[in-house]
Symmetry: C2
Subunit: 386 residues, 2 copies
């Protein structure tokens, strides 16, 4: 024999977490069969009949807890995984909940149920809603964020734009997510000039606008860029976890030398949600996973814009940003993509107070005075919901 007959896995705590998947089958037996295959695939990835008896078979293999028909002709399955299958790390956690499942057609990750014993592995958002509000000093209305763009402007031109935004009272200014380290606007020059411009404006206004440079940088430079930007006075960071990996964002959130809020941008992540029978629900991708990975604000395309998310999908994201996750703080939903002033009343009614509105072109369109446009927009979003 080459495999031990009954290996004892002494490290098993008995603590488990649950993952819910939707399968595109209306057949109960088929659903049960596929559920068991997922439970095996995501853990031992080994023919179950060849797996050794004992703890591996009894505890390490995922356990199918529920297989039930849904109203829309699918099946919902709940699989329980031993905490130790993921170990303490976010990267391997992602692999357990979804790694090879991503290669299986007709399986969608719907929801994570993580008890406190599992959530202790994650610090989560360092600031959350309350922390971000405390930094900015705005408590009673939605927050407003815009982006420095278009690509092609020099670092100095973007810094001038940042100054005008900040003088108008904008709460957050981010780099466009497409600005990183191109020759027309190199990262360190831009981060320094823009941080200084916003600091100068804050001194004049008495407000606390935060500037968030984009650190979606090469893997060996992310930490250096982020720490440099914070040293220069950046009040937050923007990052695209779909490009650099969710755990890279987590690394920044956990870094005590950084200690500023993090805004997560959905670039490269869309195909994970856009097809209803594969990928994962918006609730998981733009809510639960962002909180696990330390985002304080989760950007996503708003309903009614140039992208495809529905009102229900946006509602699910909002729910996930504030659902109970033990010590993990609630974070801001940050809808963007085609925001215009005309939509503000509808959006205020939908989102209420706890939202960060991302406005890009819409802010430039009102007039050619950016500072006045910011003031007007903030007044608009501050009106009480009728």
């Amino acid at each position: 024999m080459t495999l031990p007959e009954r290996p004892t896995v002494a490290e098993l705590s008995g603590n488990r977490f649950e993952v819910t998947y939707l399968l595109d089958t209306d057949d109960q037996a088929d659903a049960e069969d596929r559920a068991y295959k997922i439970a095996v695939e995501q853990t031992i990835e080994f023919p179950p009949d060849l797996a050794p008896d004992g703890d591996i078979r009894d505890h390490v293999i995922g356990q199918v807890r529920v297989v039930s028909a849904t109203d829309d002709g699918r099946h919902r399955v709940v699989i329980s995984y031993a905490n130790e299958t993921a170990g303490p790390d976010l990267a391997q956690f992602l692999n357990v909940i979804y790694g090879n499942v991503s290669l299986l057609p007709g399986v969608r990750l719907e929801k994570l149920d993580l008890p406190a014993e599992k959530l202790v592995d994650f610090r989560g958002p360092r600031f959350g809603r309350e922390g971000v509000r405390a930094l900015i000093g705005v408590y009673d209305r939605p927050l407003l964020c815009s982006a420095l763009k278009p690509m092609g402007l020099s670092a100095q031109m973007l810094a001038d734009m940042a100054y005008q935004f900040a003088i108008g009272g904008l709460d957050l200014i981010k780099d466009d997510h497409g600005l990183v380290n191109q020759p027309f606007s190199e990262f360190k020059a831009r981060a320094k000039l823009c941080a200084e411009a916003v600091t100068r404006a804050n001194q004049e206004t008495g407000l606390n606008c935060l500037y968030l440079p984009n650190v979606t940088a090469p893997a060996h430079k992310v930490l250096d860029y982020a720490r440099y930007a914070v040293e220069m006075g950046a009040g937050g960071l923007l990052i695209c976890p779909g490009i650099v990996g969710l755990d890279t964002m987590r690394m920044l959130a956990d870094d005590d030398a950084i200690n500023v809020p993090i805004m997560s941008h959905p670039s490269f992540l869309g195909s994970m949600v856009t097809n209803p029978t594969t990928g994962m629900d918006h609730y998981v991708m733009y809510g639960q996973l962002q909180r696990l990975a330390g985002a304080d604000m989760s950007v996503y395309p708003n309903f009614g814009g140039r992208f495809s998310f529905s009102e229900a999908e946006c509602r699910a994201i909002v729910d996930a940003t504030e659902s109970d996750m033990s010590h993990l703080k609630p974070i801001f939903p940050a809808p963007g993509g085609g925001m215009t002033m005309e939509k503000v009343p509808t959006l205020n009614a939908f989102y209420g107070r706890d939202v960060v509105y991302l406005v890009g072109g819409g802010l430039h369109r009102h007039s050619d005075n950016l500072t006045e446009n910011v003031r007007y927009f903030i007044q608009l979003i501050s009106e009480p919901v009728s």
Copy 2:
């Protein structure tokens, strides 16, 4: 005015690269409209009518080069981007070719056309097919790889298994991609014991089996894990770029202190390809992007296995592993997932000599003597294609 009227973007070289997308529309005008919106979205992400005249409008915005109907009722569009929109980095390159496109329904990335002037930004695979063969010393047949598993075994048990594999003459032994740093088999203990076991076996056989531990680790530990493993004698590395980001793999490939071949595993990447109208083609995901990001071997689920890839999709991957990409070396396709001995003749006819076969459970099933099973399997794959 807050935006400069005609900013000059002095850094533009005039060099551009092209990206082909498939749009799920049979209407020419709709396709042209959407193509232009993509060209804007992926670059300036700003209302074109508000963008300043001059270089930004003329060169920075993507340029639609082709919009043509396909045989299957879609439209193929080719968009050209200035090299500088991506800068020199893989991360921002990914953002330009696909970032916000991922959020648009009905757009699929089909192909990258990268001239040598763009490819100079990427070192690519350090070894490629020839380099991996030279390390192992096997030139005239497919290579065989298996995985250490199931999860739950101790580091010592896995090292014993590695020894048995290597004594049998296996070419490559990887950690299962689900083994990283769980309590039953911590990374450094496992990497050390398994590397030592394979080194000992190589001394006995005179062969050069490579052991590839899985470094799909927390972002702040990946480099440390990889360098440690190589110091301990690991002959290669396994990583899941869908979890840690493609650029993290690129970082390892570029690191002179590492200098071993890299195998890329598709965990978490499946939803990027499984729906034909979104995401990207297998050619791009498992071929072109893997080479840009430095993989020497690209793992994907083989046709006829427990996953969903078709023969045509697997053929596209093979084509992309060896297509002309200037100085970027051809790499090994590494099909896995449900490989059995019975399939070898079919697979040899399909793949020929330049392939790494991943065999998991199939290798354990032949008999309870792993060493003999390896010998038998290698004999099978070595038979000339009829």
